[in-house]
Amino acid sequence: MTPAAVAGPDTGPARPPDGPGADLRHGVRDDAAGAPALSAAQLTALLDVTRHLAAPFELHAMLQEVAAAACGVLDAERASVWLLDAAAGELWLEVSSDLPPLRVPLGQGLVGACAATRAPLNVPDCYADPRFNPAMDRASGFTTRCSLSLPLLDHADALVGVLQVLNRRQGPFGSAQVALGAALAAQCAVALSRVRLAEASLAARLATERLRQELALASQVQQATLPAVMPELPGWDMHGAFIPAEQTGGDTYDLALTPQGQLLVVLADATGHGIAPALSVTQMHAMLRMAMRLGAPLEQAFTQINDQLAQTLPDGRFVTAAIGLLDPATARLRLLSGGQGPILHWHAARADCSVHRATSFPMGAAPISHLRPALELDFAPGDWLVLLSDGIFEQAGPGDELFGRERVMALLRQHHGGRAAALGQALLQAVRNFAGGAAQDDDITLVLLRRLP
């Protein structure tokens, strides 16, 4: 029968009330088990140590500070700080920077027993205790005589680890040392907690910063898919703009001359905004560009892209898209629209607008079995094509009113005589003013094409 380990005060370690500056003497005198009060010298030493513990901001330095403090205050040869890995149910100890840390399951060994009971464990003769593992002594050449293991409990009473102090120079640890050790352990636990919290928060901040950089990059990639400059097409003026609600957006547009000399006109809007729809809409855009390069007819390109999206877009998502080809020679625009509407054709001669609905359902919603014919819009001199994403029509303003079609018409009536870029600016400004101070909640995209008078 092995001698029972001499435990410290069974009621647990004497705990100073709160934080730095607390009067340590109160906690010790209130100890119901009657442990001796700390001497003034011991208290001074403890306060001194506490000051030192405030300094390190990095875990490794903190652990060294704690171990040194324990040796100093308890006049011991060696001390180590085992940290709790709650997820693994283990305590770990870093022995050197190039070796993996030692690991001990909770409940095993002296430190494991201390952690399990959350009480100081005072062992005057370690080799006589069956829980003691001599392997570490053999490996290090150190001979453990006595040990005092102290639970490190932070301000929330959570176990942070175990402080183990070995070989008090004057002999086995007594109850006075246990009391002093417990007070020290409390200070150490708080200091350790602080450092780990700072490190976790730093890691989180780094992760957030990395994510921010990724998003900024994604935004650049998306912007690069949009026309850098408007194509030069004699007799025509055009303007496109894309303002995402976040860093990436679910809208896209295009104005580009095809190898066949036609003008490709596109406005597309994927469900939602942010990253996922940005990927969908970029994919659709890429497919379309490829189809145009290959000289595919409009109807074929539209059907193939629709059916491809129907296969690949997840879960009922779709992309509304108006895709048109303008023949500059005839001034006729042939347009297929999958769910993208309304399509506005301003007639200069009549000073009013035709409003067209989409020719097909939103792209990707289902395969196309029967494609309805394309819209054919003939542009007279001074006429406009106005394609706007729903972020404009549905911008909410005061009292839950929406920007709506009428306001768009009013702006067209006002600016139809000017440059496309000017109309674009006016539209964006009007939407911003209408929104008041409210943040933009949906992507905003516009495509404006005018046959010059």
Binding site: R317, G341, P342, P362, A366
Partner: protein, 113 residues
């Protein structure tokens, strides 16, 4: 966003919606709506008389449910849309994907006929 489910004679589900079918609204009823329609695997009609507003996420919910129901060989029809909502349906040519009717009777006929 409120949702009520009724059963009609002949094994038809009637879903009555009330509120705004925006991102929040679609989120609020998404799972229940899908389970009432697509999972139930019987013809469904959706009463939109109480829906004041619909945005793309709301459309997506309708489209994905109709599609899932269609995969089980059943149809879904919408009816009673307010003018603003009907305009969105028109602009999106939604009637090419599912019947958009005026009355409940028409919707029922559309999914059972």
């Amino acid at each position: 966003m409120d949702m009520q489910i009724e059963q009609r004679d002949g094994g038809i589900t009637v879903v009555r919606l009330k509120g705004r079918l925006d991102i929040a609204g679609a989120d609020a009823i998404g799972l229940r709506f899908t389970s009432a329609t697509a999972s139930a695997a019987q013809p469904a009609v959706v009463d939109l008389a109480g829906v004041e507003f619909i945005a793309s996420m709301g459309l997506r919910l309708l489209i994905s449910s109709a599609r899932a129901l269609g995969a089980k060989g059943r149809r879904m029809a919408l009816f009673g849309a307010q003018p603003l909502v009907q305009a969105v349906f028109d602009d999106a040519a939604l009637d090419q994907l599912m019947p958009v009717c005026t009355t409940e009777a028409q919707a029922v006929a559309a999914v059972t006929g």
